[in-house]
Symmetry: C2
Subunit: 142 residues, 2 copies
């Protein structure tokens, strides 16, 4: 989660909402990414989508069933759906997102009968630090 | 929808589940894409994600609030989330997808309070033709 928090801080420095993500396979970091929709002109460029695309490209396959994803914020519906499609084994996230999250809030994607893969989910890791990075970002912009 | 059906047929010819999508802005086609997760080693490479990324890149901006999306199958949770993030104005789709759809089935993304943009939705356009393409694809593989 340390690397994911660093990626979130880097996103903030680039003017993006600070969210960072890392994919790990057998203790090895496969890919790291920050949130970048504004910079990339890509509404799908959330940290989770970017890190999944990078890891799948690096491993040369469509499924990441031996990989874990670490992210600093509860994934939204788009990202939770991507996590299911990628067959991510374990999802670790830091801060909960009552406004846009779709794991423990809103659509609760992994509990839907139309969701074909449910990762093991571990929430609240380094939650205070991830939330402070987000709060600092939005406070500066007000 | 004619172009989206063509993109779906092209996807089938490449061994991908046949789904195609088109983004239109003021009567002009901005981008066309087919489903390609296998070929691209990218679990996020559904037709909708690819066409949104292509259109946003072509227009040089993150939001597509003056664009309509045409797709041959009811979007899944990932794609419905991306459609909301992209601020797509109108969503037209052909076949319903009771097993994986997230517009009129499952997570019903656009009805969630955590969904921050709801396109106008028009379902069932060329439904029989889109469903026949999908049925043909799966029948060949059985």
């Amino acid at each position: 989660m340390r690397l994911a928090l660093d990626a979130a801080r880097a996103a903030a420095a680039a003017g993006e909402v600070p969210v960072g993500a890392v994919i790990v396979q057998a203790g090895r970091v496969v890919a790291t990414a920050g949130n970048a929709p504004r910079r990339l002109h890509d509404p799908t460029a959330h940290a989770e989508i970017r890190v999944i695309r990078a890891a799948a490209a690096a491993l040369g396959r469509e499924r990441l069933d031996d990989c874990d994803l670490w992210v600093t914020l509860e994934p939204c519906a788009m990202c939770a759906g991507a996590i299911a499609h990628a067959r991510i084994a374990r999802l670790y996230y830091a801060a909960a997102d009552p406004k846009g999250g779709a794991v423990e809030h809103g659509a609760r994607i992994f509990t839907q009968p139309t969701c074909h893969h449910r990762p093991d989910v571990y929430a609240g890791i380094a939650e205070a630090e991830a939330a402070a990075i987000l709060r600092g970002f939005f406070a500066e912009r007000r």
